[in-house]
Symmetry: C2
Subunit: 206 residues, 2 copies
DNA sequence: TTCTGTGAACGGATTCACAGCA
DNA sequence: TGCTGTGAATCCGTTCACAGAA
């Protein structure tokens, strides 16, 4: 059934899920692809096509049951479980990431934080102890961690990513402002507000 | 000359620029589309095609002069000037954004911060005074600000974006976990680490 | 010879349009 | 009638392949 689903479809699923969650909050039981599309600024046809890769979730003449579709997407996306993560780099940025309250309600939990600065080792961020980077492999394996968050300086980012991948991480969320390469089968997403800003100034200049 | 350049090309320019900056740091004077493509995991043909939308910057048989191409991209992207920005929301996340050291070296400067919580007004983040949200319009107009950064709770994000747009902002960097709609001609980029993580778990699940 | 710039060919994603079911 | 699911048609970005300049 999951033939060969384009990555771009997978990238849209989280948006759909967030919109459905919002509809559920508003006690809306049923939504059409038209209504969902208006909310998300996406064509109804695209929503129907995207969902059709995974099955038939709607009722003709009616639309989609919000709770049902939300549950299906949650399962499809693998979000019906908790995902432990490790964080590397607990400078200013890393500390903010460790304190970000948006992860846990969505099932993402930082279970260990690492740095290489001796003066930081043993200190805590909230209840999270800072460990030496040399322990990252053992932690990833012992705690079955798949996801690593990188918040080190750009010059060190590739080395840290390589270390995480060698330790067993299969997905990397990179906050460092650097071009990172990962082997096939390893997933990478970059969070870089400067690149986002730079892609808008082109349109702003006179 | 600027016919109709696909947005996806504009989204890649910041990557090219960052890679060129890195080459410049390493005192590399000339680079071919082949070499640049290897660094960025992009095909050489794509790089040449993308650049050809803006002009002819290379020398056949040689490649591209790094300094020259970097300067051209900087100009094309509108990065040969400083961009003042306003920040709305100075909770935990907003405070981290205000302190992020990556903006200023790239020409992005937060010139005013706003919140609606009375106990925050008048306090400072570094040297940045926190103003009442009611002053945002005057600030944007007086200081010729085009870019607004939104770091408020998701439930308030659309209202704040609307206010920024009504005040004259033409680009929004949104950190709130919410689907935001903007009028035509207004540019929006979302920074949402949770969406990024959720687009990877699909591939991680067994 | 090397490597750019670019029209042409290709391939994949989006949109169309409609059969079919509630 | 209203709206889904989906093959077909369309659109658009990527890659190819080569002429031409250094």
């Amino acid at each position: 059934m999951p033939n060969r689903i384009p990555e771009i479809v997978i990238l849209r699923l989280p948006m759909y899920r967030r919109a459905l969650h919002s509809l559920e909050q508003d006690n809306i039981d049923v939504v059409s692809s038209q209504e969902l599309g208006e909310r998300l600024q996406v064509t109804p046809a695209q929503i129907r096509k995207d969902l059709s890769y995974f099955g038939k979730f709607g009722k003709q003449g009616m639309g989609y049951n919000v709770k049902r579709l939300l549950a299906e997407l949650t399962r499809i996306m693998g979000l019906d479980r908790e995902w432990p993560m490790v964080l590397v780099g607990v400078g200013r940025l890393g500390t903010a990431i460790a304190s970000y309250p948006g992860f846990v309600p969505q099932g993402f939990r930082i279970v260990a934080a690492f740095d290489s600065a001796p003066q930081l080792i043993g200190r805590k961020i909230g209840s999270l102890a800072i460990l030496d980077i040399s322990e990252v492999k053992r932690t990833i394996q012992d705690k079955h961690v798949d996801i690593g968050i990188v918040a080190v300086p750009g010059s060190q980012a590739q080395r840290i990513v390589d270390m995480l991948v060698a330790s067993g991480a299969r997905a990397i969320l990179n906050y460092a402002p650097a071009t990172i390469r990962v082997p096939p089968g390893i997933h990478l997403r970059d969070i870089d507000p400067v690149l986002a800003l730079q892609s808008m100034t082109y349109y702003l200049k006179p």
